[in-house]
């Protein structure tokens, strides 16, 4: 990786970020930057402040101190509509009591004001995003009838569609994913992360919260390890995934790069099957 000469403030950056609720710090002193085209995976135990960090980066949550910037411009100074042209978020699958179809949920991304408007282009973007998230065959299904994993993929399709339609010339675009693989089978876990990887290849800054350290190792350019609201380290996967550091962060014994001592089988999915998927 040869660092190209670029401004040091491009991308999505948090500096000295802290969020305190009723005096208790959810996160404190978090500084990191996701460069355009980079995938940063945030890992850490429950309650480490990963989601709080993501909510700050998306502009949804205003930090108590510190700042979040996109290409050097504070996120807090931008309107919701302006931000929606630059970044998309895949939330944890949400409950929806109203019978939107899958295609309608994805199409909401095309209603962001300022996105490129020609109807044909929007339809193409919606169709392509649904295919990439493998929800094309669910287009007419009602969202409330879907399984958790299917819902998650619908939100991925919505985010991909939003980014595809966003004007590319305005600066860095960002994709934030909050535990996108939480309720997915291993094949779809790979598929979602490969979609994120493709996005990164087109210059999008990607930040994903993942619990699966093997997936993190496979897909991350850098892993940000968090615990107790603090950023313990951020570095390439090989530098982060060592026994002592992980055991400390997660408060349990973790062995990296060794088969289980008892010789039990272990499984590590590595690549998505090529070609179209035939799922019922």
């Amino acid at each position: 990786m040869t660092p190209a000469p670029r401004r040091t403030d491009t991308g999505l950056a948090a500096s000295a970020l802290a969020v305190a609720v009723t005096g208790r710090h959810l996160i404190a002193d978090v500084t990191l930057r996701v460069a355009p085209g980079e995938i940063v995976v945030v890992a850490g135990p429950n309650g480490a402040g990963k989601s709080t960090l993501l909510r700050c980066l998306s502009g949804e949550l205003r930090p108590s101190s510190g700042s979040v910037t996109l290409d050097g411009v504070p996120v807090s100074s931008q309107s919701a509509a302006a931000l929606a042209l630059r970044r998309a978020v895949v939330p944890q699958a949400s409950v929806l009591h109203f019978p939107f179809t899958v295609a309608e949920v994805v199409a909401l991304a095309a209603t962001v004001p300022g996105l490129s408007t020609p109807d044909a282009r929007q339809r193409a973007a919606i169709t392509r995003a649904m295919a990439r998230a493998d929800v094309g065959h669910l287009a007419g299904r009602l969202y409330p009838t879907l399984s958790g994993g299917e819902r998650q993929r619908v939100h991925l399709a919505r985010a991909l569609c939003q980014l595809a339609l966003a004007p590319h010339a305005e600066g860095t675009r960002a994709l934030l994913l909050d535990e996108p693989t939480a309720s997915l089978d291993i094949s779809h876990q790979l598929m979602i992360l490969e979609a994120a990887r493709e996005e990164a290849r087109t210059g999008i800054a990607v930040l994903a919260i993942l619990h699966d350290l093997n997936l993190a190792a496979t897909f991350a350019d850098r892993i940000a390890l968090m615990a107790c609201g603090r950023l313990l380290a951020i570095a390439r996967p090989a530098a982060i995934l060592d026994d002592a550091r992980l055991s400390g962060a997660f408060a349990c014994t973790v062995c990296a790069n060794r088969p289980p001592p008892g010789g039990e089988p272990y499984v590590l999915p590595q690549a998505c099957a090529a070609g179209p998927r035939t799922l019922a």
Binding site: A80, L83, V89, F98, L142, P144
Partner: protein
């Protein structure tokens, strides 16, 4: 027809389901508009004094020239002084209530929210009752300042205060707890009802008669003055509602998701709360508390054409107007020459639908 659309959508026909739904939506709005015209004509023609359909256009559009015909003069009188304002007000009230139900359900992400159930109508009614009872004493300046608008503006303020309180109580950190919403709404409705009751208790007989209207709802006493008082409210709603469509769609996914889609959630909530209060306040001011329109109509539209608000709001308005006018035709013919309070009729239709919704939710679908 529409059931097949929903089933086809559920079965998953990728290319067709979505455009089918849009087409269904357009057809629904067109059909509802046509139906409303028919119902409005019926509302003009039907009553203790029947006006034949042939006589209707003559009475509506002929000049005063044929004053020689006493039947025609009587028809014109009935039509212009009684039925036309009543029909216009009924259509407005039905539309406003249905739309306010659809908006509250979107805002609270809960298909059971209804201004009548969660106390918004009662809050508006309390303010209206206070204005009537105290109009020549405590609130005399208010009355003289606003004239014919004193009542609808008071009701609007009452509705606004109640909706804002509901949002504050039921919304915790962006998530709205359905149980809290309904229970808090019941408490608000009870409080506002008690307030209205206290005022009624302290009132003289004539005022008391007026006050019973607020609790049961009625279109009796419709007049051109009331129609005129509604015009600014109708105009504000017509301008404001289209601006809320995208926000309401986004809010159905959740507040965070709406923000991610570029919606200024705080501003959207203010807009929706204000529009709801405008709709509820103005309709309560002219017709009292009429429940369930806001639950039944949006529910029906969602079954037919899905929850997208670009269809839901106009279709609900048109169907709500028709439903209320039909109920009013019944209310003034069944026991003619007396009248049933229309709120009672709506409760007879609406309560079973509400129960059906609750049971369906209970079974987890």
């Amino acid at each position: 027809m529409s059931d097949t659309v929903v089933l086809a959508a559920a079965a998953g026909h990728p290319q067709h389901a979505d455009s089918d739904r849009r087409r269904t939506g357009r057809r629904l709005v067109a059909g509802a508009a046509a139906a409303l015209i028919v119902v409005m004509l019926a509302s003009l023609a039907i009553g203790p004094t029947g006006i034949s359909l042939e006589a209707l256009p003559r009475a509506l559009f002929s000049g005063i020239g044929d004053a020689s015909d006493p039947a025609s003069v009587r028809d014109r009188l009935v039509l212009f002084d009684l039925r036309l304002p009543r029909t216009l007000i009924g259509a407005f009230v039905g539309a406003a209530l249905a739309v306010s139900g659809a908006m509250m359900q979107g805002l609270f992400r809960n298909p059971l929210a209804d201004p009548g159930l969660v106390g918004v109508s009662s809050g508006a009614a309390l303010a209206a009752v206070a204005t009537i009872a105290l109009g020549d004493s405590l609130l005399v300046h208010w009355q003289s300042l606003l004239g014919r608008y004193a009542l609808p503006v008071s009701a609007f303020a009452g509705g606004l205060a109640t909706t804002a309180l509901l949002v504050a109580v039921a919304a915790r950190r962006g998530e709205i707890a359905a149980g809290t919403l309904l229970l808090a709404g019941i408490a608000f409705a009870a409080l506002a009802g008690a307030g209205s009751g206290l005022i009624a208790y302290a009132s003289n007989d004539q005022e008391l008669r007026d006050l019973t209207l607020w609790s049961m709802g009625s279109l009796t006493g419709a007049s051109w003055e009331k129609v005129a008082a509604l015009v600014p409210f109708a105009a504000a709603l017509a301008i404001g509602l289209p601006a809320a469509v995208r926000a309401l769609d986004g809010l159905l996914l959740g507040e965070a998701e709406a923000f991610h889609l570029g919606i200024d959630v705080t501003r959207a909530k203010y807009l929706i709360v204000a529009l709801t209060a405008l709709a509820v306040g103005s309709s309560v001011a002219v017709a009292g508390v009429i429940g369930f329109v806001g639950i039944v109509v949006p529910h029906l539209v969602r079954l037919l054409a899905g929850p997208a608000h670009a269809v839901l709001l106009p279709a609900s308005a048109l169907i709500g107007a028709s439903l209320l006018l039909l109920a009013d035709i019944l209310a003034r013919t069944v026991v003619a020459p007396a009248e049933l309070p229309i709120g009672i009729l709506m409760a007879l239709i609406g309560a079973p639908v509400f129960l059906h919704l609750v049971l369906r939710r209970g079974s987890g679908s």
